[in-house]
């Protein structure tokens, strides 16, 4: 992501230091991760220490300091989903993709994360791929869903 785009995002939030997290969220969402250069640019323009930005980038789960895969798989591990067997869904996804939560596969195809509640609790267990929510999913069905993604 080039500096011009970063500057645009910063300007959208009126360059306020308190909007730091919102700015990082925008960069993360567009770029799929936060490169060091982006953090340096934000630090420079908002006049906020890089140490503070680094704390924020590592404190909040939404941010990634490493490139993510083309497809984001989120398995919900909230209580309702847990009680309905989310662990088995997660185990199956790990088997299929070969990666554990927090990891990206070597082809940069999938990134897997656990999520602590997407708010679709009635439909547990829930798996979200690239923002699309799949409810009442069984371990067997996860294979069908994931195979559809290139």
């Amino acid at each position: 992501m080039n500096n011009d785009r970063i500057d645009q995002i910063i300007d959208k939030h009126q360059g306020e230091a308190s909007s730091l997290i919102q700015i990082l969220l925008d960069i993360q969402s567009e770029n799929r991760w936060l490169p060091k250069e982006a953090l340096e640019r934000v630090s420079e323009k908002l006049e906020v220490s890089l140490t503070r930005i680094q704390h924020i980038a590592t404190f909040y789960k939404a941010f990634s300091l490493v490139p993510k895969g083309r497809h984001q798989i989120h398995v919900c591990m909230g209580t309702a989903c847990h009680v309905r067997g989310a662990q088995n869904v997660l185990d199956k996804v790990q088997d299929l993709t070969g990666i554990k939560p927090g990891e990206t596969d070597s082809d940069m195809k999938y990134s897997l994360e656990t999520v602590n509640c997407l708010g679709c609790c009635s439909l547990g267990p829930v798996m979200e791929v690239d923002g699309k929510v799949h409810g009442k999913i069984s371990p067997a069905e996860t294979a069908e869903v994931i195979k559809k993604y290139e």
Partner: protein
């Protein structure tokens, strides 16, 4: 749309709107909340629009995607007005039939009606459905009636009338008095009297004050705020503006978890619309009162649902909570007096202003007035959002509304209050739901998550699960939580893996005492609750895990073994073929044996064994019976010697 600059103008706008809409057209309302969208509501809505256009009915039939009515289990869900015919689990393929039969010929399509599981009775109208009938839906009732993206829909149901009343017919002191009289207590978990919080801020000498909507909804299993904010965003805004007027704040924030993109979208749109119409900005409705509001997204941290951590996050920092010796309503956001309330709390405000505190206090118990929205989920037949008057019993919620436990299983516990709460067993089911009642019983109201657990749930694992969650979400600043929760998790994990030792329970209790008394914030202070409540009500499970290495719920993988009963096995080969680890030894007419070395306890064999054989069992706390000798494994079919 020109800005509305007086209550009379608002009245006129509303009247004209209602006149324009009084066409007598049937209105097809399809839930477009996150839950139904996940179940395919988007395709259903598109199919309706397409089919209606195709049949040239656009001028005669209205369709809209609406807010979430909370019955996500049965989604996609829709209601046809004015008859209020409710169809559940609707698919895009059903659309042409619905139009030709129900819209054109006024005939009901039986197979799309809701069926009550225990009686087999079908419900035609939304109000006939037992799930809804036993609720008191003062807050959620409007969701299915309005397009969440339409401010006009909100105006059509008397939206912003409370704001006009507060600004022009009441002084801030009078609004405050009404809120105090209603005894509205915070719906986010703390249960603190909202009126008292507002009063403290109103009286604080600082000229700059803030109001905040806490829409972080971090409790896993809770989605009440999602439905309210996503489904009826203007109702929250209206409450917030009234609150700001009362305490004298000019700026407000809405902090929404980023895991709710639809809620973020809808509230941002609602704010834009409100600004357009003159409900936000300068000189609101010509009253002289200025107020603006900004949306901030969360970034994936449960601790930011804690009010002081939320304010720290709004200031653009890592969400570490602050000491609350000086309350945040006096020194909050940027050290200014701040009122932070939960989504549901704000949603109650316009109702209290419109209908009065006297109406509100008729519902509920002495200490807990009004209603509460719970998310009833887990091992329960009817899952979804239930809004009930305070004082209803847990039994009524779980059985009358929830339809009891599915699959013929036995109820074991109800968990409320999220990771800060506790589990209550069967003998507590006649408890009347209320803030103080739940706390006294060892749990808490919390934000409204109500997870039902059955005989297959291991209560030690429940404690372990919540501590794992909290260990991941702890900010890490203070020792009792960062180190204490970590150690508690270690011990509980060991117990569930068969490595529990005598003395573990006592050590857990010591760690609990330190966390409760010395943690920096409520996350750490309440972290031991799930452990303490399960220990109190289900101590035998802890004892058997530790002393007998037995999990009575047959859940903890390290403590269970899968065994095929040689007397029941019919060598059908189904589990043999399905086992993903090739852990079944067997063959045609050869009784199957589980190879315990290879078995990964994935549960497949138990799930696929035909019910009439029922040969696969889980055992725990006792040695696995040795496999019968090979010679005896052959099944001789058709007549024995």
């Amino acid at each position: 749309m020109a800005q509305i600059k007086s209550p009379d103008e608002l009245k006129k706008v509303r009247e004209e709107l209602l006149l324009r809409r009084d066409s007598g057209n049937p209105c097809i309302s399809i839930c477009a909340g996150a839950g139904c969208l996940a179940s395919g509501a988007g395709e259903v809505i598109a199919a309706f629009k397409e089919e209606i256009e195709k049949q040239g009915l656009t001028a005669d039939v209205d369709t809209k995607g609406t807010g979430c009515p909370g019955f996500c289990e049965k989604g996609p869900i829709m209601v046809i007005y004015p008859e209020e015919i409710c169809y559940v689990q609707v698919k895009a393929e059903d659309v042409p039939e619905i139009i030709s039969q129900t819209i054109k010929e006024k005939k009901i399509i039986d197979r799309l009606l809701y069926v009550e599981p225990s009686t087999g009775e079908k419900a035609t109208q939304e109000s006939d459905i037992p799930f809804y009938k036993n609720q008191e839906r003062i807050l959620i009732c409007n969701n299915i009636k309005i397009d969440s993206k339409s401010i006009d829909d909100y105006l059509a149901i008397d939206g912003y009338a409370a704001l006009a009343k507060a600004l022009f017919q009441m002084t801030p002191e009078q609004v405050l008095a009404e809120v105090k009289k209603s005894n509205l207590r915070g719906r986010g978990g703390g249960g603190f009297p909202a009126g008292r919080k507002w009063e403290g801020t109103r009286n604080a000498p600082d000229p700059i004050k803030y109001v905040i909507v806490n829409a972080d909804e971090g409790d896993p299993g809770a989605f009440m705020d999602r439905a309210l904010l996503e489904g009826n965003p203007h109702s929250i805004l209206e409450g917030l503006i009234i609150g700001a007027y009362t305490i004298g704040a000019q700026e407000g924030y809405i902090y929404v978890r980023q895991e709710y993109p639809l809620a973020v979208e809808n509230i941002n749109l609602a704010i834009k619309q409100a600004e357009e119409y003159g409900f936000l900005g300068k000189n609101i409705l010509g009253s002289g009162f200025d107020f603006t509001v900004k949306v901030h997204q969360g970034a994936g941290a449960f601790v930011c649902g804690e009010s002081s951590a939320l304010m720290t996050a709004l200031e653009g920092k890592a969400g570490e909570p602050r000491p609350k010796y000086i309350r945040s309503n006096i020194k909050g956001l940027w050290e200014r007096p701040t009122v932070l309330n939960n989504v549901e709390t704000w949603a109650n405000v316009p109702l209290i202003i419109n209908k009065g505190a006297d109406w509100f206090i008729q519902m509920g118990t002495e200490g807990s007035k009004g209603t509460k929205v719970f998310s009833l989920v887990g091992k329960i037949t009817n899952t979804g959002l239930v809004e009930v008057p305070m004082g209803i019993t847990l039994r009524d919620i779980i059985y009358k509304i929830g339809g009891g436990i599915p699959g013929g299983k036995k109820f074991k516990a109800v968990q409320t209050g999220g990771p800060s709460g506790g589990c209550l067993p069967e003998n507590m089911l006649d408890l009347e739901v209320g803030f103080d009642e739940l706390t006294k019983a060892g749990s808490m109201m919390g934000s409204g998550g109500m997870i039902i657990m059955d005989e297959d749930t291991c209560m030690v694992d429940v404690a372990r699960y919540f501590l794992e969650f909290l260990a991941d979400e702890s900010c890490g600043k203070c020792v009792p939580c960062r180190e204490g929760v970590k150690q508690m998790l270690k011990i509980l994990t060991n117990i569930t893996e068969g490595k529990g030792r005598v003395g573990d329970i006592e050590l857990l209790e010591e760690l609990a005492e330190t966390a409760i008394n010395a943690s920096l914030c409520a996350l750490g202070q309440s972290a031991p609750n799930p452990f303490l409540s399960t220990l109190h009500y289900f101590r035998d499970e802890y004892e058997s895990h530790i002393k007998e290495k037995r999990c009575s719920a047959l859940y903890c993988k390290e403590l269970i073994a899968y065994h095929i009963d040689p007397d029941k096995c019919q060598a059908c080969m189904i589990c043999f073929k399905k086992c993903p680890s090739e852990a079944i030894i067997g063959g045609k007419n050869m009784i199957h044996i589980v190879d315990q070395e290879k078995c990964t306890k994935c549960n497949t064999c138990l799930e696929v064994c035909p019910a009439r054989f029922d040969a696969v069992k889980k055992i725990s706390g006792e040695p696995v019976p040795p496999p019968i000798p090979e010679e005896e494994r052959t099944i001789v079919r058709g007549g024995k010697e």
